[in-house]
Amino acid sequence: MKISLLAACALAVPATIVAQQATPSRAMTARPAAAPTLIKNATVLTVTKGRFENTDILIQNGKIAQIGKNLTAPAGAQVIDATGKYVMPGIIDPHSHSMSDAVNEGSLSVTSMVRIADVLNPTAINIYRELAGGVTTINVLHGSANTIGGQNATVKLKYGRPVQEMLFAGAPPGIKFALGENVTQKNRSNVVIPGQPSPPRRYPTSRMGQEEVLRDAFTRARDYRTGWEEYRAKVAKGEKALVAPRRDLELEPLVEVMEGKRLVHAHSYRSDEMLMLLNLAKEFGFKVATLQHGLDGYKIASEIAQAGTGLSSFADDWSYKIEAYDAIPYNVAILLRHGVVATINSDSDERARRLNIDAAKLVRYGGLTDDEALKTITYNGALQLGVADKVGSLEVGKDADLAIWSGDPLSVYSSAETTFIEGEIYFDKKRDLDMREKMAKERAALEQAERGPRPTRATQIPNEDDK
């Protein structure tokens, strides 16, 4: 009895999947839902169902309850007049390293066992700065130091909440792969400082070796899976005195990849290395979810479309290394026209704050419509991360992850003013300015305070929030 239970669980529900799905923790379920909010009279950019002028959005229980004209506010609702303003879905950044205290476990070529979810810092200030750019969901990935980097985490930017609440409940788990110059370390400075140890050269140092590392890892994972399948077959036949195969935390995630339970996000630049991976994946029976960066993707757009693989790129970054020298700002548009689900990402805490401008560039360079451009930072990202049923567009029933913008978000002159996640405000420009003023006053008061004695209850600066 005990053994068969273990057998059933070992592969079907691996520990890592549990990690991403276990987020409705005690803390979260205990939280009362935010009060209803009615956003009135905005230009609503649904992204998937068109744009509507002078339209209201009703948020209830963290979800979008209604979109329409002249909606009535339920009792106790906060009402926000958004006349002249725009509302769009929260921006999704499919490639981020924000709030991650570690990026690479680059000591080995295959580190599929390590998990970003273990090193997330929920207090990282850049979360707040990204909220101020209208971002609500990010895909926190490992770096690109090694061929198989580790398990990523899809995160909602609920700044100020415990990290367990920030992990996107129900988001499919994923894994980062990496190909090209960063892995081969050919773009590193070769300066040798006398007396200083030079960095060790780690296999692989060529694109040939990268293919071999992947082939070797998936061959081992296939054998590992076969071992478990044989074991389970014996259990099913009622054989006694069996010993289960030893669990392998390196190979388990790769088995999940082959079973379609874990999304592969593969850092890659050159079209040949992307194609290598797509073909290798086909051979081992899985799909690559996204090519990350994929700056040369436009050269093999048809092949990527045929593989059913998405691609997440920079809007216009290029020429910073050899494999980025053929990057063009038309990349995403060409891919979209070939049927690839393509997105813009930041890969940068800085750039994440202005993905709206990056999306606007695609109108110029690729001739995308405004809605197509907006999709590259919202809905398409939700598709790539497997969360399009919950976020990525303004539709009734979806999570109320959205932002009110001062104007058209594709204009450089616009900025996010209020950012909601599941109906709660995590950034508000006015509140931010008020807080600044308050803190400046507090600071001034403290600087005036008499030196020496410890503050007592009587000398403490009154805090309005205490009331």
Partner: protein
């Protein structure tokens, strides 16, 4: 598109130039920038003209001849034989200027060191000129100019005296054809002080963590710099004296000291990279002590020392508007709002994109971000056109659409600072510039690949 043109033959040629599509395919490493057309007489009619002076023309004409702007106005007369462009629905802007690039010196910074010529070895290189490192065929030239950045300052970096910056138009087959001012400004990286500058932390580490040693080492560098400047001053005076009186002993030439003389005489400004408030103050104080004309580049903390900058009349090239706030407790918009604060304080500033030269094409969006954070829109435009021209002393030639200025003209589909706006026609030094780039080329090659 031919309906845009009065004369069919010109129509065909300009359409080819504009589309870049009819040009032969030759996407090779850093060689693809289509060549400019001739300095003829051109008239752009029926367009909105954003002159950059504050007086816009809703519907007017700009006339270009012999490389210069020769007519601007609602009813400017079009000379006979002028090639005309119908600008209906289009906007005409002065070319943008990025005062803080390494463009042409820095093709692929990682993994291709042979394409990087941004700094020279050694600490004191006043005689090193960016002008001689510029690759006119850098692929960055084409992609940068087609967004409307027609002119850049490209500067050397590193060491203590990095060398001389150059002012370039992004068109021409050779550096002399590109250069507006080959020797524009001296670059001096004053050794940083104070812990806020971060530089000191790194410096301290080099000194084995000993604060006293680090301070002394910094002081030795500053002393060496001062000594070199004093030597150069004496050198200049010795030559002046000898010129007047040949009976004096003939001084020996020294190319290093000679290159510093224009800076010491106020004929050449000195660019000081400085971000921390303490470093900005010490650069200005140092410049005044040595009788140099300072321009601060970087300027992250410029808003906090704005009264000081105003009092000393020192301009700033802001390179970090898009940077993340440097301190954890800074407001989220700490750097976005620096331009607005400097305007309010009356400090002269320009906005630069500031990073890798491949990204100089993002300059308009940096100015746009400043406008989204308190800078009036017309000021945002000036901060990438007129203000950099004024700071570098070339406002008589560049920065606005006015008669007599160099014809660096961008014709766009809308607001030039918006990311969705496209460029339809481009003139640099009065020459029509084809809008093809390495990127349009690759787009053309692959966009319809089945």
């Amino acid at each position: 598109m031919t309906h845009l043109f009065k004369r069919a033959t010109l129509g065909v040629s300009l359409v080819m130039l504009a589309a870049g599509a009819a040009l032969p395919v030759r996407a090779q490493l850093g060689t693809f920038n289509p060549r400019p057309g001739p300095q003829g007489t051109y008239a752009i009619r029926n367009a909105r003209i954003v002159t950059g002076t504050g007086a816009d023309i809703a519907n007017g004409t700009v006339i270009i001849s012999g490389g210069k702007i020769v007519g601007v106005g609602a009813n400017a007369a079009i000379p006979a034989g002028a090639q005309t462009i119908d600008g209906t629905g289009l906007s005409v802007y002065p070319g943008m200027i990025d005062g803080g690039t390494t463009l042409g010196l820095n093709e692929i910074p990682q993994g291709a060191n042979a394409t990087v010529d941004v700094n020279e070895t050694g600490s004191f290189n006043p005689n090193v000129q960016a002008f001689y490192g510029i690759n006119p065929h850098s692929a960055h030239v084409g992609v940068t100019r087609v967004v409307g950045v027609t002119t850049v300052v490209s500067r050397p970096t590193g060491g203590i005296i990095s060398g001389q910056a150059t002012l370039l138009n992004l068109a021409g087959d050779t550096p002399p054809q590109m250069a507006i001012a080959p020797k524009l400004a001296m670059v001096i990286e004053l050794p940083r002080s104070g812990f806020a500058g971060r530089g000191f932390g790194a410096f301290l580490a080099e000194q084995g963590g000993n604060t006293a040693d680090a301070t002394r080492a910094r002081q030795r560098q500053v002393d060496s710099l001062k000594q070199m400047l004093r030597d150069a001053d004496a050198y200049g005076k010795a030559f002046d004296a000898y010129a007047k009186d040949k009976a004096l002993p003939r001084p020996e030439h020294d190319v290093v000291l000679a290159s510093l003389v224009p800076a010491l005489r106020g004929e050449m400004p000195v660019i000081f990279p400085a971000d921390a408030a303490a470093d900005i103050r010490s650069a200005v104080t140092f410049a005044e002590e040595m009788h140099l004309k300072p321009i601060i580049i970087g300027g992250r903390d410029a808003a906090t020392v704005a009264p000081f900058l105003k009092q000393h009349n020192v301009p700033v090239i802001l390179t970090g508007v898009m940077d993340l706030p440097s301190r954890e407790d800074d407001p989220y918009d700490a750097n976005y709002s620096v331009p607005a604060k400097l305007l309010q304080a009356g400090v002269k500033f320009a906005i630069s994109q500031g990073a890798n030269s491949a990204d100089s094409r993002s300059l308009p969006y940096v100015a746009g971000m400043a406008a989204a954070n308190g800078l009036p829109k017309d000021e945002a435009l000036k901060s990438v056109t007129l203000y950099p021209a004024q700071i570098f002393g070339v406002a008589d030639k560049l920065g606005t659409i006015e008669v007599g200025k160099m014809a660096n003209i961008v014709v766009t589909t809308g607001d030039m600072l918006e990311a969705r706006t496209d460029t339809k026609f481009l003139f640099i030094d009065g020459r029509p510039i084809p809008l093809g780039t390495k990127h349009t080329e690759l787009n053309g090659m692959f966009k319809d690949r089945p």
